[in-house]
């Protein structure tokens, strides 16, 4: 019996020391709690931050698959397709919302917009020149494809840009703009192909949005026409312009000449090809892309 009592006490102690060990590392003690100055060191605090981080990772995957086509891979927006989110959400849209008397948090606004979409264009968007399509609904609750937890993930990803406002690496570059007369350097077709396929970034450090709307498969229409055979078509499109001049004009000034044969490319008298693309590329980027497109006979 003495042996049993001794063994029992030993087992009891091991069990309670083990549970105690777990408990003191849990993060329930005041000293382990998160403070604004110092993140907590308890297991639960580490776990909570890790969960938030993983939610952002999932959100990033969902964003790149569903949102990047219109809002850009880094939220830089795609002219004519979707507005700039990063950093405009925090520096432009939210102050604007406050002026209009919006009482909620930006997070709620973002979540609501993602969930329910935008059936009607806002005055602000219209003033920016408008977008070809409306924001669709994304939540399963209102007919979209994403579950609640996925919506939460995307919101966490989008809201995480706020931490980078003002901290973004500023890239010094001179955009080519809409000036058709400026001298262009010699184009490198191989780099142009890489730019088009988003294997390399344009001068502003971001991906070129071309392939979001233009397929390379003959006859396939994503939003705009396929680029297959563009070099041959461009040569005869506009009287008095060479293929190179025509492609350059289409990129820098898409509304200078409208192809009237297909109504889906012209909406309200404007080309669906967005204006201002030249503001996102250097003269070299433009020359490279043109050189590449001229190889697509």
């Amino acid at each position: 019996m003495t042996g049993k009592i001794f063994l029992g006490i030993l087992i009891f102690m091991i069990i309670f020391v083990s549970i105690g060990l777990v408990l003191i590392n849990e993060g329930a003690l005041p000293s382990q709690q998160d403070t604004p100055q110092q993140p907590g060191t308890g297991r639960m605090q580490i776990e909570a931050r890790a969960q938030a981080g993983r939610s952002i990772e999932q959100g990033a995957l969902l964003y790149s698959g569903n949102c990047a086509t219109c809002h850009g891979v880094n939220g830089e927006g795609v002219p004519g397709k979707g507005p700039v989110l990063n950093p405009d959400l925090f520096t432009v849209h939210f102050p604007e919302l406050k002026i209009q008397g919006y009482q909620g948090l930006l997070r709620d606004f973002v979540k609501g917009t993602i969930m329910a979409g935008r059936p009607v264009q806002s005055e602000w968007a219209a003033a920016q020149g408008g977008y070809a399509e409306r924001m669709p609904t994304w939540s399963q609750r209102v007919g979209g494809p994403l579950r609640d937890d996925q919506i939460e993930d995307v919101v966490n990803f989008v809201m995480n840009w706020e931490k980078g406002v003002g901290a973004q690496i500023v890239i010094d570059f001179t955009p080519v703009g809409s000036d058709l007369a400026a001298e262009l350097p010699v184009g490198d077709a191989a780099r142009g192909a890489d730019l088009f396929a988003q294997r390399v970034k344009a001068g502003n450090g971001l991906n070129m949005p071309c392939k979001a709307c233009h397929s390379l498969t003959p006859g396939e229409v994503l939003v705009g026409p396929s680029m297959a055979g563009i070099a041959s078509r461009a040569a005869t499109r506009e009287p008095g312009k060479t293929a190179e001049q025509y492609i350059r004009e289409s990129i820098q000034q898409p509304n200078a000449f409208l192809v009237q044969d297909d109504p889906k490319y012209v909406v309200n008298g404007k080309s669906v090809m967005p204006e201002g693309l030249g503001n996102n590329m250097t003269a070299q980027d433009l020359a490279d892309v043109i050189a590449y497109l001229l190889t697509l006979q």
Partner: protein, 550 residues
């Protein structure tokens, strides 16, 4: 029965004094709670004194509601480790631990698809000892399945299922099924990818039950809809927390009552063939339940709790948790829970209805009826060579079948997909996500230029070297889905890009694993040739410190 004169408290105080009266009353209450043992009786037990005459230690058996089901003495031969190996006790102890931890977990759990997974995250991040409780619950569940199987194996080994214990064996088989049912219904409740797809595989067995109309009805009844959803989760939850435990308790009672009724079967070598002497215990072989067997069982209880608590506390065992269940995306290599792997193995042999439903049902029926079919009266090992051989052959078949159920068997996946799954799996973590965040250097790192990886990123170097080794090991010619494919010139690239910045540096990185080879296909989404897997890693994700996701 003589009625004792009833003394009022005041009379007692006058007779014994105040302090003695209080002590007497305390002792009286204690004796009532123990159904007959006074404080002095318990002290004499703890001192190891021999029992007095008449023995007060049998009183709890005759007076008490709980102890009356236990025998007041055991045969000395069954109180040793052999022949029971304490497996019945271990199963029972694990069942009680499941009830306790399960009750605690229920407090933070709602069985609905939108909230169940969120609840799991909450239990891990916001409930002190929440992860600990969940880990213990899961570990005890796995342990219970093992313990019940072993218990059955032991009963077969010692021939204890033979007359008069056939019915005890049959109820034991039912308890085995309930244990597996409990474990399986609990498997779904976290509502993560692991749970969802493992249970989807198992529940699809119900669909295969013949005839089709019955299978359809059973599946619909179980899942509440053609696919697992809100209704299915609620049904599994109710089975898990209510129906199965209740049925289990009922059958445990029947099972244990039968054990006591027939006595614990003695080691086969102690009895003459065809005789059962478990109930006729000679005076000198009796070991009293109180205190000897009872304290021994308490020690075993303690050992089991320790065996669960210590590995969990030391982080040796952590219950897994994957991403939230996504019915639209089936992870590669989905497997049933390990105790169903053998069925998954059989399914690879052919017809789902036969191998998945009919054959297992026949086996369960045979198992249950086996004591009534076995006419060999002897329990001696030497007389049961064929039966024992059959047992080990069946165990061997189960092990091989379970191996056949693993993803590696008979399922050929293209090597680039295997590589992507191994290094950057959709669920779990994989080696690439475990690279420390500061070592995820922006750039394109190739297995063709391993020396270009800077020395300040040893983990990145190690992972890329491992990738190189694995790629080297890929056979140059493979048959994938009936076609011979050449994997000449294969190499891997890890492309690391910054995805989000904070004030203090990068917050989120994008990692793309690219596998290239001479005859690579064209990826239409990325508009470039090769095979690609993408993921993002956040600076706070700490895959090393959060073992649930490993």
């Amino acid at each position: 029965m003589k009625i004792e004169p009833f003394h009022t408290l005041n009379e007692m105080r006058k007779e014994h004094g105040l302090i003695k009266t209080v002590l007497l009353k305390v002792d009286e209450s204690f004796t009532r709670l123990t159904a007959g043992l006074s404080i002095n009786d318990v002290r004499s037990i703890l001192r190891g004194d021999p029992a007095g005459k008449p023995n007060p230690r049998v009183k709890p058996h005759t007076e008490g509601a709980i102890f009356h089901i236990w025998p007041s003495f055991y045969h000395e031969a069954v109180t040793k480790f052999y022949p029971t190996f304490r497996l019945g006790l271990i199963s029972w102890a694990l069942f009680l631990i499941e009830i306790l931890t399960g009750l605690i977990l229920m407090v933070w759990y709602t069985p609905a698809p939108g909230t169940a997974y969120e609840n799991m995250l909450r239990i891990l991040s916001n409930v002190p000892l929440g992860q600990f409780t969940r880990d213990v619950h899961r570990l005890a569940a796995e342990g219970m399945v093992i313990a019940v199987w072993l218990h059955m194996g032991r009963t077969f080994l010692t021939g204890s299922y033979k007359k008069p214990r056939q019915f005890t064996w049959a109820t034991g088989v039912i308890l085995l099924l309930i244990t597996i049912g409990l474990s399986y219904t609990g498997y779904l409740l976290p509502w993560d990818q692991l749970a969802y797809w493992a249970v989807t595989i198992g529940a699809s067995m119900a669909d295969a039950a013949p005839p089709p109309a019955v299978g359809e009805a059973v599946a619909l009844l179980l899942k509440g809809a053609p696919d697992l959803g809100a209704n299915g989760l609620l049904r599994f939850y109710l089975l898990h927390v209510f129906a199965f435990p209740l049925i289990a308790l009922l059958f445990i009672f029947v099972h244990y009552y039968k054990v006591v009724r027939h006595g614990h079967s003695l080691p086969p070598e102690l009895e003459t063939i065809g005789e059962d002497t478990a109930r006729k215990v000679p005076q000198d072989k009796r070991v009293p339940f109180l205190p000897d067997v009872f304290t021994n069982e308490i020690l075993w209880f303690g050992l089991i709790v320790m065996a669960l608590v210590v590995p969990v506390a030391l982080g040796i065992y952590t219950a897994p948790l994957e991403h939230a269940a996504n019915p639209q995306s089936t992870p590669l290599h989905t497997v049933a829970p390990w105790y169903f792997l053998f069925v998954q193995g059989w399914l690879k042999l052919g017809d789902k209805t036969f191998w998945g439903v009919v054959f297992p049902t026949i086996l369960i029926g045979l198992l249950m009826l086996w004591p009534y079919l076995d006419y060999n009266p002897s329990r001696r090992y030497g007389d049961r060579r064929i039966a024992l051989m059959a047992m080990f052959i069946i165990i061997g078949i189960m092990v091989v079948s379970s191996y056949m159920g693993t993803p590696g068997f008979l399922v050929v996946t293209a090597p680039q997909i295997e590589l992507g799954h191994e290094f950057m799996p959709g669920e779990k973590v994989g080696p690439i996500r475990k690279i420390p965040f500061e070592e995820m250097l922006v750039g394109t790192w190739s297995t063709r230029a391993l020396d270009e990886i800077p020395d300040n990123a040893p983990a990145l170097q190690a992972v890329m070297e491992e990738l190189w080794h694995e790629i080297e090991a890929v056979p140059k010619l493979q048959v994938v889905e009936g076609e011979t494919v050449s994997y000449e010139g294969m190499y891997g690239e890890l492309i690391i890009e910054d995805a989000q910045y904070g004030q203090a540096g990068p917050l989120l990185k994008k990692l793309t694993l690219a596998i290239h080879w001479d005859e690579q296909p064209f990826d239409v989404v990325r508009q470039e040739p090769g095979y690609f897997v993408e993921t993002y890693v956040h600076v706070d994700s700490e895959y090393e410190k959060t073992p649930a996701y490993h």
